[in-house]
């Protein structure tokens, strides 16, 4: 079998899974027990194995032939607009496939237990499989149109999964928000695609990149515009400033969803996109710099906010935003390998963190607020271990995966020199904050004296609260009851452990595949995809990388220490800080007031315009002026015509003679 047929298989499995579950659901009574979950997981496993198949096929090819395109059929073609439904199998896409399907598989397995008993069990796995299908379509796309299709599909899937518990106003609103912001990104991509088509006359990557060198000069205006529009798409999807606001709200979805879509895979699509279109960015470094700057800004922003918020999931969400900032910075400084490497490691440890969080939240009976947590260490040792592993990786603790990946990015940035150093320093600062908030979570959740739920759990039974919406606290009507009342935690459910275990290992050790001077599996493997890059020589030397690593290691230790100091040794110091700088705290807690800003800038104006249109334009102009005016004239004429119809014979005679007079007058004038 050729690599591309494996590619098609990769797509086929999840799609089949979706349909099977969806139609199985229509059976009276649906599918028995956890079967849907297992079907879904099986499908993803199939996709994962097919990806490996593709990998092997690819490795058999010679270096320069590792980019296979295969077209199913003509999607639409008219004039110069020619699009095939085609996939591209090359190291980059295969790498993404592996990460996506691999992590997805584990998260599916986790969900099998986690979502058990939820009334939307079928729906959940149908959606989840559909998401994986879309994500794989996105990464396998061979042209911009198919890319946009996948791009929008993942957006749709994320909408459906965010508002999965659609009885919650908060959830549905969050879903709509995410969807709309994603559509903005889509539009950006559409316009970008047009600009490229207009200039290069092609829409498939190969064609565009081949033409790009000829038609575009360095920093060509059109090209920069196109790249910026691509960035808009990327930022919308990857929750970069200023289009990030949807991601924290997206935490309304079930925790595994947060783990899969809003941490491991979808949100990193932007990074993939930049990497995929790197030939364009290298021709338009101006755009790339914008990407780098925004990425840096975002990573700092995310980290700062993560310091302040107390909702466990939202904290992790902001950390995601911040981490993706690192990736965007990486790919924007043309450190593709590094960026994608961090993408992978981040997928591991962030998914792990979310799983742990999910386990904790279940144990707390749905409570997500860290203020009400504490001392869960003894109650749930497995979760504690896994979560800590994730936290270590996130904090870039020496020799964990995050340690290597993050510092490679920063090393590249330093290597670029010039004003990039500013970015690098910001990056290190962010690293410090990261280490701090990562362990802020650990210490606040697992250390300190156990809360009631924790003690109950030590007794061996789960805490039960009246089901309520964690965001608003409004009671859930259990009759229609999503989510289910019974919940599951890692300590007890084998599938959840089975999912978290491997991830913990990966989080700790995955870094070793890419140790400066020792190993560079990722770099090597991705080599062919970036063969055309002009920035190979800029790769930092192993020595400089090691320096960076040392610095990074120290920073993370400092951060962790600070966290230990603040939350274990001298509890309450943070409270003092908060009281001392209330403004700062408010600023952070309110996420830099981005939501308010958008509310004022876009949402309210549109609503007002709508009101205005309804109240004024419709009634006054359309109905009043146009319709009313026309009918009014006719009415007046009508009443006049009837008012002279007095019924008085002599009046008629008068009008008659008047007519005669006028007519005769006209003719007299005509005669002279």
């Amino acid at each position: 079998m050729s690599g591309t047929s494996y590619g098609w298989l990769v797509l086929a499995f999840p799609l089949a899974g979706t349909l099977v579950i969806a139609f199985g659901w229509l059976r009276p009574g649906g599918l028995p027990g956890r079967l849907p979950g297992w079907i879904a997981s099986g499908a993803i496993l199939g996709a994962f194995l097919s990806s490996i198949g593709a990998l092997i096929e690819l490795q058999d090819q010679p270096e320069d032939a590792r980019s296979l395109v295969d077209s199913a059929w003509t999607y639409a073609s008219t004039g110069d607009f020619k699009v095939d439904l085609s996939i591209l199998v090359d190291p980059l896409s295969v790498f993404m496939c592996l990460v996506v399907s691999g992590v997805s598989f584990l998260i599916h397995v986790y969900s099998v237990a986690y979502m058990d008993g939820d009334r939307g069990y079928h729906r959940y796995f149908a959606y989840l499989n559909f998401f994986v299908f879309s994500m794989l379509l996105l990464v396998l796309a061979a042209n911009f149109v198919v890319l946009i299709v996948g791009w929008a599909f993942v957006g749709a899937a994320s909408y459906l999964l965010i508002s999965f518990w659609y009885r919650r106003e908060t959830a549905t609103r969050a879903g709509i928000k995410a969807f709309v912001i994603n559509v903005i990104g889509d539009v950006g991509l559409v316009v970008a695609a047009f600009l490229l088509l207009d200039k290069t006359g092609a829409l498939d990557y190969a064609g565009v990149f081949a033409q790009a060198d000829q038609v575009f000069t360095h920093n060509d205006g059109t090209l920069v515009a196109a790249c910026l529009l691509i960035l808009v798409g990327a930022f919308a999807k990857s929750a970069q400033l200023p289009l990030h606001t949807w991601l924290p709200d997206a935490m309304e979805g079930p925790t595994p969803v947060s783990a899969l879509i809003h941490a491991a895979t979808m949100v990193t699509a932007g990074v993939y996109l930049i990497a995929r279109t790197h030939p364009l960015f290298e021709l338009a470094p101006a755009a790339a710099d914008v990407g780098a700057i925004v990425g840096t800004a975002t990573l700092v922003f995310g980290a700062t906010v993560a310091l302040a918020v107390t909702d466990l999931k939202r904290t992790i969400a902001y950390s995601t935003i911040s981490q993706i900032g690192y990736m965007v910075l990486g790919v924007s400084v043309f450190a593709y390998g590094a960026g994608l490497f961090h993408l992978m490691t981040h997928a591991f440890f962030k998914a792990l963190l979310f799983m742990g969080a999910g386990s904790v939240i279940s144990a707390m009976g749905g409570i997500q607020d860290m203020d009400r947590m504490g001392g869960l260490r003894k109650a749930m040792p497995f979760t504690f271990a896994a979560f800590t592993a994730g936290a270590l990786a996130l904090a870039a603790f020496p020799f964990t995966s995050g340690f290597f990946s993050k510092d490679e990015i920063l090393a590249f940035t330093v290597e670029r020199g010039g004003w990039y150093l500013v970015l690098a320093i910001a990056g290190y600062a962010g690293a410090l904050l990261t280490a701090f908030y990562a362990f802020r979570m650990v210490f606040r959740v697992f250390y300190g004296n156990p809360v009631a739920e924790a003690r109950e759990l030590e007794q061996g039974h789960l805490a039960h609260h009246a089901p309520a919406n964690p965001a608003t606290g409004e009671p859930e009507d259990t009759d229609v009851g999503f989510p289910a009342e019974e919940h599951h935690i890692a300590e007890r459910e084998r599938p959840m452990r089975a999912a978290m275990g491997p991830l913990a290992v990966l989080a700790l050790l995955a870094g070793l595949v890419q140790v400066p001077g020792v190993s560079d599996v990722i770099e090597k493997f991705l080599e062919p995809s970036f063969a055309d890059s002009h920035f190979h020589d800029t790769a930092p030397s192993d020595g400089s990388e090691w320096i960076g690593l040392v610095v990074g290691g120290l920073i993370s230790l400092v951060g962790i220490g600070a966290a230990y100091h603040a939350y274990v040794r001298r509890r309450g110091v943070t409270l003092e800080l908060r009281d001392r700088f209330p403004r700062v705290h408010a600023f952070l807690v309110n996420k830099w007031y981005f939501d308010e800003l958008f509310e004022a800038l876009f949402v309210r104006p549109v609503a007002t315009a709508g009101g205005f249109g309804r109240a004024v334009i419709e009634t006054r102009f359309v109905q009043g002026f146009i319709v009313g005016g026309a009918t009014g004239v006719v009415r007046v004429g009508s009443s006049f015509a009837r008012s002279i119809q007095t019924g008085y014979l002599r009046g008629y005679a008068l009008l008659l003679l008047l007519g005669v007079a006028l007519l005769a007058l006209y003719f007299l004038l005509a005669s002279s």
Binding site: V634, S638, A641, Y652, L655, L656, L663
Partner: protein, 513 residues
Amino acid sequence: MTLPLADIQAPDIDYKALSPLIATIGGSIVVLMVGLLRGRRVQTVLVPALTAVSLLTAIGLAIWTWEPGVRQPIIEGSLTMDTLTLGIAVLVYVAGLVAVALSLRAVAAREAGHGEYHSMLLGSITGMVLLAASSDLITLFVGLELLSIPLYVLCATELHRRTSLEAGLKYLVIGSVGSATLLYGLALIYGATGAMQFDAIASAISSDQVSLTDPLLLTGIALLATGLAFKASVAPFHQWTPDVYQGAPTPITTFMAVATKAAAFGIFLRLFDHALGLSQLQWGPALAALATATIVIGNVGALAQRSLKRLLAWSSVAQAGYLLAGVVVGSTLGLQATVFYLAVYLVMNVAAFAVVIARERVSERGDDLSSLENLGQTQPWLAWPMTIAMLSLAGVPATAGFIGKFYLIDAAVAGDYAWLGVVIVVGAVVSFAYYLRVVAVMWMGGYEVELPTVPPRKVKPVSGWSPEADLRAQPEVAAIAIAFAALTILFGIWPDPLFDAARDIGTALSGLR
């Protein structure tokens, strides 16, 4: 001093060409005589039958003498029995037949006495044909009066109904003012050209005997136009129309509405397009202005009417405006379009009026709009014809009205009066407002008409109150309604016969553009 009788040689009379006229004159005299016989049968059956016979004979003769091409005037140039005349004549005869049928149970006929009623009807018909055929001024005037005077009487024949008399009086007085004006106009034209025959007038104008822009001539034309416009109920000489149409007995209204218009436009065409054709540049714009005014006034006037007869009267004013557009352009196309529309107009109006009569006789609300309420459910066989008639009058496709308007606009544009075409369609748009109102009342039950409803009247039911019974009581009315509605649709889809006739008629007048 005296002349020996021998010197007088009687003019040779082309009896064949004259036969249709003779048929109706003779018919009217016979009918009058027969009407003197007492006996209900004679009165209610024989007399109408004879009238119908004479009309049918006339139609037959008209078809027999039908001969396209320019025909020389007969009898010392006072009559021209060409296709234009005969075409108009046939329309008039058909209208007459309809009137006879609708009058079978009419109060008017009883009040006036069937003999007199029908002979007057035939007299008026003769007058109309005479008018359309006339090719000298005197005949024109006589024909006009012969047309009008019986109608004055017929309008007033429901002698016990105040409005009927009022209609008669109004029609008489205003009509006479109109004909006096016309007479004066004729006098002026005679003075200006010194000729009575149209041909002579035309040649006089073309020769340098009188200049095209001579005030005498043009004033004459103005007064003449007024007189004819009055008969055709063109604004601002339209005001008698609603009152008279409403007041007159409905069968007579039907007859007037279709026949008078046909005759008036017949002479309009002959006089303006033929005799005065050369000065079209002078009178064209004036008539165009009149047409516009008529279209506007007629349509807006009809808007808020509740009396169906009145509504149809206003609409007939508007239709006159459309027809006038065909005259204005003074072209063969215009001539054909006008005649075509006259035929169409006859068909759809008869259908509408028949339904009005059918309802008026049995409904407590007389000819009020509300007398049609929910007709769709109770009497579809009446509601459908009315609907078709309304849609056709409004000019909906697949009805004859649409093609008629299409033809007129075609002629208008071809005659460099494109704006008149636009006026026509604007008028049509407005007209939908009141035509659809009628349709809505019939089909879309529970629809309130804004104006206050009239006090119910006492009606002697034609029969039991059940719709079927009413229908059985006056089958001819329903039959006419259905037949003419069918024709409306038929001509809307297959207008060829009308077009053939129109083409023949187009050849009648020489010297058109």
